[in-house]
């Protein structure tokens, strides 16, 4: 039924687009290894649009490049905590996503996020959580705790990797020490620093990627859940935890740039990705969860039910958004981080 609906919608849009933009173009600026080629091929074919995808590796990179002007991109896919910056700096266009046809499929809990109230600008892409991933052949304790990497048990000493992502690591550590994100409480930050320095002696590296979990160079890592799902496909004993002390939820959302050369096609794409069948394509490629009702039907069955991608109800309260902190707090956090990495 959903399939039918999507196709009808798509055809309706295609007719509309065909009239306005035959053989148009669309330039997407997205995270590396995050865009499903199938999705792009489908969009190109349906709307007769030539799509170009350019990669970036961090929110700061994307922001810096677009802010410099003349980027030529139509769409960008920032994380939730950066979206207010993009909006406040006037870099993105208000496309009233909540009035688009496929918005009806967006799950209730993602319809009115604090960083884009009423979804005026952003169409949901994927979401995930940060937390511990551990090979349970080497560790049999509780997995739903940040203690795995912040107070490492002896069996994991020298086998832990931590993603070198300042805000994510600090978020987990601050929540672990009982604080709130963006807090500028000095005693708390001193405790966070001491805890991180204590834990760091047991870490082997601070790297991106989980391929060294596959090769058993690492037994545990602080990372992101979609990658943990892929690691489990290699080694069945790899499990993902949702720390009871607190974990952050991130979400990327597509926005149309204010200086987009092809704003019409960009809006079409925003609508396109909210269709269940298409959201499933995005999830299948990147192995992260989407925000679209009914997409499960089109997802790889294994992925749709993956424990990594579904927060257990009893731990849902521990999840939180990672707001963007004030420049003063960011400076404090940077000082702590520099101390950790000195």
């Amino acid at each position: 039924m959903f399939r039918k609906l999507t196709i009808t919608t798509a055809m309706a849009c295609a007719g509309f687009a065909g009239a306005a933009h035959a053989a148009g173009e669309l330039n997407i600026y997205n995270w590396g290894n995050y865009t499903s080629p199938e999705l792009i091929a489908k969009f190109s074919e349906q709307y007769d649009v030539r799509v170009t995808v350019t990669d970036y590796d961090s929110n700061d990179t994307a922001l810096a490049r677009v802010r410099a002007g003349g980027s030529g991109f139509d769409l960008v896919n920032p994380s939730a905590n950066f979206i207010p910056i993009w909006i406040n700096e006037g870099l993105v266009e208000q496309t009233n996503v909540s009035e688009m046809e496929n918005f009806q499929y967006v799950k209730e809990e993602w319809r009115d996020p604090p960083w884009d109230p009423g979804r005026k600008y952003s169409a949901p892409w994927l979401w995930g959580t940060g937390g511990p991933v551990v090979a349970t052949n080497y560790y049999d304790g509780d997995i739903n705790t940040s203690a795995i990497w912040l107070d490492p048990p002896e069996e994991l000493h020298g086998k832990i990797n931590v993603a070198p992502e300042m805000n994510d690591v600090l978020y987990a550590a601050i929540r672990y020490m009982g604080g709130e994100w963006c807090s500028d409480d000095r005693d708390l930050m001193r405790a966070v620093l001491d805890q991180l320095l204590h834990a760091k002696q047991y870490w082997i590296s601070m790297e991106y990627g989980l391929d060294k979990m596959d090769t058993r160079d690492w037994y545990a890592s602080y990372y992101w859940n979609g990658a943990a799902y892929r690691a489990r496909r290699v080694n069945a004993d790899v499990q993902w935890g949702f720390p009871k002390e607190g974990f952050h939820i991130f979400m990327e959302s597509m926005m149309v740039l204010a200086d987009a050369p092809n704003p019409e096609n960009a809006r079409l794409f925003q609508n396109f990705i909210m269709a269940p069948e298409n959201a499933a394509l995005i999830s299948n490629f990147a192995s992260y969860q989407n925000a679209i009702e009914g997409s499960e039907e089109f997802m790889d069955p294994d992925l749709a039910d993956a424990p990594e991608l579904n927060i257990p109800e009893e731990l849902a309260h521990a999840g939180g958004w990672q707001d963007i902190c004030s420049p003063e707090v960011n400076e404090l956090y940077t000082r702590v981080w520099t101390q950790v990495l000195r």
Binding site: A64, R67, R186, M189, S205, W337, T338
Partner: protein, 308 residues
């Protein structure tokens, strides 16, 4: 006498003028692509930082430069010496020095070996030295990682031979970073040393032996002084890129401890402190420049004594 002198002086001046004209394209290139961007970096280092990255144009501030050596205390915001920054500088300098020494220890014998081959074979040996340069730095670094990781070729071979039971932790150690850097920058050491060894007069070596010098004495008093310019040039060529090395420490060192390169990157990334990042880049440039000037001065002094 004075007429010829005047004439030759005029010729000389004309020659200088012509050379200047001929070098204009090169000068324009240097100003446009080297001095220009550097000037931008310098200007950025004196501006107020933007709240979310970038700078506030036209707002002068010394904050970036102050933060190179000073930081606010995490407790009470008082200005204290930034030990963290200094230890990062020192780690970079130390590693660059060790890389230089390592490359010299491996590179000198290699260059000596090549210089002593028959002239027809030398080009082949030099060609072999430069072959790794055809492959991207990142690819070569990842290849090293594949050798030394826990399930890598070295550990697996040793374990199958029964030499060890547990894999040796080589990846993500300081030794791994040093090995990677020496490997990557070795050709930069070999080539200049070879160039000066090739010019070395072998009759001097023979004369040394005739005068009852042993091998070590010949090396110490004849060969080394003879190729000193090559050694110094090689050391500088290795030291300069090694101090700003970014990829190798990151891939082989596991990124637990920052180097100058990573520290600068952090300022333009999550720290959102472009003025500090710019000031750090200039600081790195100054460190390198001071060393270069010291070298040039020493070289010039040597030139003077030679002339006498």
């Amino acid at each position: 006498m004075s007429v010829t002198k005047e004439h030759s002086e005029r010729l000389r001046r004309e020659d200088v003028r012509q050379r200047w004209l001929l070098s204009v394209p090169a000068l324009i290139t240097i100003i446009l692509f080297a001095a220009g961007p550097l000037l931008v970096v310098l200007l950025f280092s004196f501006m107020e930082r933007g709240d979310y990255g970038g700078v506030k144009f036209g707002q002068f501030s010394l904050e970036g430069w102050i933060s190179v050596v000073f930081t606010k205390d995490i407790f009470d915001d008082s200005l204290i010496l930034a030990e963290a920054n200094l230890s990062i500088f020192w780690r970079s300098v130390k590693l660059a020095l060790l890389t230089m020494i390592g490359a010299l220890l491996v590179g000198f014998p290699t260059a000596y070996f090549i210089a002593n081959r028959p002239a027809s074979d030398r080009n082949l040996w030099l060609f072999l030295i430069t072959i790794p340069f055809w492959t991207n730095l990142l690819v070569r670094t990842f290849a090293i990682m594949d050798l030394i990781r826990n399930t890598g070729h070295i550990n697996r071979t040793l374990m199958s031979l029964g030499v060890i039971d547990e894999p040796i932790q080589m990846l993500f150690t300081d030794g791994a970073v040093l090995f990677g850097l020496v490997y990557v920058y070795l050709p930069l050491m070999v080539l200049p040393i070879y160039a000066s060894l090739e010019k070395l007069d072998h009759r001097l070596v023979e004369a040394g032996y005739d005068l009852y010098a042993n091998r070590f004495q010949v090396l110490r008093h004849v060969v080394l002084p003879g190729c000193k310019p090559g050694i110094i040039a090689g050391c500088i060529l290795v030291f300069i890129p090694a101090i700003g090395a970014y990829v190798t420490p990151r891939v082989l060192g596991g990124g637990k401890n920052m180097m100058m390169g990573n520290f600068i990157e952090q300022q333009f990334g999550p720290a959102r402190n472009w003025p500090l990042g710019s000031a750090l880049s200039i600081t790195l440039l100054i460190i390198v420049m001071v060393l270069l000037i010291a070298y040039v001065r020493q070289d010039a002094k040597k030139g003077d004594t030679d002339a006498q």
